[in-house]
């Protein structure tokens, strides 16, 4: 039995605990109101996300549009967590042997001009994306090779029929570039109308765009997710210089920047502002590669290519480069945190990923000697962008030097760099990168195929193509994983056609009063802003 003072103390403790608990819950309850101001590093070439590839389109315009399905903004770190946006329920499982996906569309959704949104609009949108007429660009058309046709049995149902089952289909459908357009707009104004006009069904309505300056949006009061969005509006200010974006957050001229900053910028902000800054970090679905040109001798000799990858100390590089550059994680062909990615033990078996760097370097030297090039000279082409190209490029030059390879690095602005890479091809090794939005391993690893339009190694590898053809159609996850390991081993180790260096690392310091935005492994994801609120 407690004495009276003890009972009093206990009551006080319980009361205090309840109050603290309630307080904690209140602190996390989204507040309505406020204008979110953020900075974006790029201007918009047009408003049509179906044909553009830059985040400069996604960051200001994604809030104005809906998607059929999307990466779950509450859990974007999970690369397999998709949710319905315009569809109801959960993301459908395929039927008909994995070849049919049936989506039920929400009722009562309207475009910002008042037109009701139905399954016909979804079909019209995907017709434009997947089967564009001649002369109409659709940059991600190739992601939907498996789609045979699209049907609309009624106003609330849209059915995608595939030619073959494909594990790549659902991630492709969640692409943040798949803005759903109004069929009425497409029919009345043509397929180019959305380049200069905005009529979405998203959480925010378009107010104005001042070219080179900003985009403004205001809350859509008729948004179909009850209670959202929380913000009254947003202003997306275009600021190409990183220093300006950093200072804008420091000076509270902007609350957040969604692409990311290098480590030093994060440290400067935290040092200046302390707990007024929250830092979110994540692996990034971008990887830097070094690509040997197999049309340039002796890089058609796989021993030379293997030597290049063996000379690269990824494990060490991860530790020290991550302090100065936006790179960090060691990984293979698949995004490091994906279930289909190689484990550390699996990576250790690949050339260039051995835990023993001395053994790796010795093997590199032996291969070079065997190939008749103990003192190889390399014409190395790099892109004139600091983060992370020039930093990683300079590091690679040093790594190769340690095994006797002398590389002269030629750094060019983006235009001439791509001219060298794609047209002139007058390089021995070039920096390259693979940057995607939704993590879609099957689509993402196509980069390593010789037949891929974005592969600049100039080779043919039928065995690799055959492995890919099998994995593209494999629905069983265990078998798919095995096939991806085979693909990875051949691409990175046996043939070393593409040399993965390090996966990028996303660092987003932002004002602490910005809540509800969770960092995703891609700067293209989680940008509709319907979950974002301001705690001030």
């Amino acid at each position: 039995m407690l004495k009276s003072t003890g009972r009093l103390a206990l009551a006080a403790a319980v009361g205090f605990g309840l109050a603290a608990g309630a307080g904690a819950a209140d602190a996390q309850t989204p507040k309505k109101g406020g204008i979110l101001t953020y900075v974006v590093a790029s201007d918009l070439p047009s408003f049509d996300a179906h044909q553009e590839t830059t985040f400069g389109v996604i960051h200001p315009l994604a809030p104005m549009y809906s998607l059929l399905i999307r990466v779950n903004p509450a859990n974007p770190a999970d690369p397999t967590d998709f949710e319905c946006d315009l569809c109801v329920g959960s993301v459908p499982e395929p039927t008909d042997g994995g070849k049919k996906y049936t989506f039920k569309i929400r009722k009562g959704v309207k475009f910002h001009d008042g037109t009701p949104l139905t399954a016909h609009d979804v079909k019209a949108t995907y017709q434009k994306i997947i089967f564009p007429p001649e002369g109409i660009p659709s940059t991600r058309k190739a992601f939907y090779r498996a789609v045979d046709n699209i049907e609309v049995p009624d106003d609330e149902t849209v059915v995608f029929n595939l030619k073959f089952p494909s594990a790549a289909f659902i991630p492709a459908m969640a692409s943040p570039f798949n803005f759903v357009y109004s069929k009425k707009d497409l029919d009345e104004h043509g397929l180019e109308w959305h380049k200069k006009n905005v009529n979405g069904s998203g959480p925010f309505k378009f107010v104005q765009y001042q070219p080179g300056a900003f985009v403004e949006g205001v809350r859509n009061e008729d948004f179909y997710m009850e209670g959202r969005p929380y913000l009254d509006g947003f202003r997306s200010i275009i600021a190409p210089k990183m220093a300006v974006r950093l200072q804008a957050i420091r000076g509270d001229r902007a609350a957040i920047e969604f692409r990311g900053f290098p480590p030093k910028a994060r440290d400067d902000l935290v040092k200046a502002l302390g707990d007024q800054i929250t830092v979110q970090e994540s692996d990034w679905n971008c990887v830097l590669l070094s690509t040997p040109n197999q049309e340039s001798k002796p890089f058609d000799d796989k021993r030379i290519r293997q030597a290049l990858t063996l000379a690269t100390d990824r494990w060490g590089g991860s530790e020290y480069l991550s302090q100065i550059a936006i790179v960090k994680t060691v990984g293979g062909v698949v995004f490091p945190n994906h279930p289909l990615a190689a484990t550390k033990e699996e990576l250790h078996k690949l050339k260039g990923f051995y835990p023993d760097m001395k053994k790796s370097q010795d093997e590199a030297k032996a291969l070079l000697a065997e190939a008749g090039h103990p003192a190889l000279k390399v014409n190395f082409s790099n892109r004139g962008v600091d983060q992370p190209y020039k930093i990683v490029g300079t590091w690679l030059v040093d790594q190769w030097r340690r095994v006797g390879i002398e590389a002269s690095q030629r750094v060019q602005p983006s235009g001439p760099f791509y001219d060298t890479l794609r047209k002139k091809k007058d390089f021995d090794v070039s920096i390259d990168f693979n940057c995607q939005s939704v993590i879609n391993p099957i689509a993402d690893i196509s980069k390593f195929l010789g037949s891929a339009g974005s592969n600049y190694a100039n080779f043919e590898d039928k065995e690799l193509e055959d492995i890919y053809a099998k994995l593209e159609r494999e629905a069983d996850q265990t078998k798919l994983r095995e096939l991806i390991r085979q693909f990875e081993t051949r691409a990175l180790s046996d043939e070393a056609n593409g040399i993965v260096t390090l996966w990028w690392y996303k660092i987003n310091p932002h004002r602490s009063y910005v809540k509800g935005w969770k960092i995703a492994p891609s700067h293209y994801l989680g940008q509709q802003l319907d979950t974002v609120w301001l705690d001030k």
């Binding site: 070219p211 200072q247 804008a248 509270d252 760099f417 001219d419």
Partner: protein, 323 residues
């Protein structure tokens, strides 16, 4: 006078045309392609078909000679066409940025003139005194210090000082509002780049004012004016300064023209959506129509400013007017 004006106007045409032709061919010599930059440079795997569609839509798949004919037609019809990057009319894109660049140029000119003429005059009048040395040091520093670096220091300084003093860091707005819409916002944004560029600008004008005035002060008519018993202030203001202004006006005019399209880095530092930034973006993106138009605009500005300077000469110096 009207013959003179007409002659100057007519001479503008071959100047503009020459500049346009030069930049037309120079841009096409730079390796790279607007469509590749647009679709490939972000890292996505894009089919060659998409790039070819882009090239066809923009017209860069046509032979250069056809593109040149297009350009010439656009020149003589005053219609440079749409931007290759945004597909918006070039004149519309330029018009949006022109206002901001003009305001910065005017403000910088005012800052420069307010600083340069008095300081230059003081330095000349008090030649070889500590005042003269101080002004010369100030102007040499202005010439040596890059205006974009000064801009960065101004922003950092404001952030650090305001945080130290008030606990809240402050920096100028990074989004433009016209002066009639919000004068305080507008001036609090643009005064800093105006000071950063105006300082450098004033340094050149100060030195020119000083050397021109020193030369004039040695003239016989100045000695005569002093001999007549005029006070020094009247000698300087009424007789000396006006005659010393000719080279100063030239400098101020040329610098003003430069400010209209040349503040490439300063605009980036202060995040100003001006002509300089548009220039950089257009060259980076290989937006041929925009670059061609901007070059011709800058040439036009230089030509017009030079013309206005010549008219100023006539006003300042009656000998020129009578001739």
């Amino acid at each position: 006078m009207s013959k003179y004006i007409l002659k100057r106007v007519v001479l503008m045409i071959p100047t503009l045309l020459g500049a346009g032709i030069l930049v037309f061919f120079l841009m096409r010599l730079i390796p790279g392609d607007i469509c590749e930059l647009r679709y490939v440079a972000t890292g996505f795997a894009v089919d060659q078909e998409q790039i070819d569609i882009c090239r066809k839509n923009i017209g860069i798949d046509r032979p250069v000679i056809i593109q040149f004919a297009d350009f010439m037609f656009g020149f003589f019809t005053f219609d440079p066409g749409p931007s290759m990057w945004t597909d918006k009319p070039v004149m519309e894109e330029i018009g949006l940025r022109f206002q901001l660049s003009l305001q910065v140029a005017i403000m910088a000119t005012i800052v420069a003139t307010i600083i340069a003429i008095p300081l230059g005059a003081i330095s000349a009048i008090k030649q070889d005194t500590w005042l003269d040395y101080a002004v010369r040091l100030f102007s040499i520093a202005g010439i040596a210090i890059p205006s974009f670096w000064l801009g960065i220091m101004i922003i950092l300084g404001l952030l650090i000082i305001t945080q130290e003093v008030t606990g809240i860091p402050w920096m100028p707005p990074i989004q433009y509002k016209p002066i009639w819409e919000d004068p305080i916002h507008n001036l609090s944004q643009l005064i800093w780049p105006a000071v950063a560029t105006g300082y450098r600008y004033s340094a050149v004008a100060t030195r020119m004012t000083r050397s021109a005035l020193l030369e004039v002060l040695r003239e016989d008519y100045i000695r005569t004016a002093r001999a007549k018993g005029l006070i020094e202030k009247v000698v300087i203001n009424r007789h000396a300064l006006k005659n010393a202004m000719l080279p100063v006006v030239t400098i101020i005019g040329i610098e003003f023209a430069f400010l209209m399209g040349g503040l490439v880095v300063t605009e980036q530092v202060f995040n100003l959506n001006g002509l300089g930034k548009l220039f950089v973006d257009s060259v980076t993106n290989h937006d041929y129509t925009m670059v061609q138009s901007l070059v011709m605009l800058v040439v036009l500005i230089f030509v017009v400013v030079n013309f206005l300077i010549d008219l100023c000469y006539a006003w300042l110096d009656p000998r020129i007017r009578y001739s």
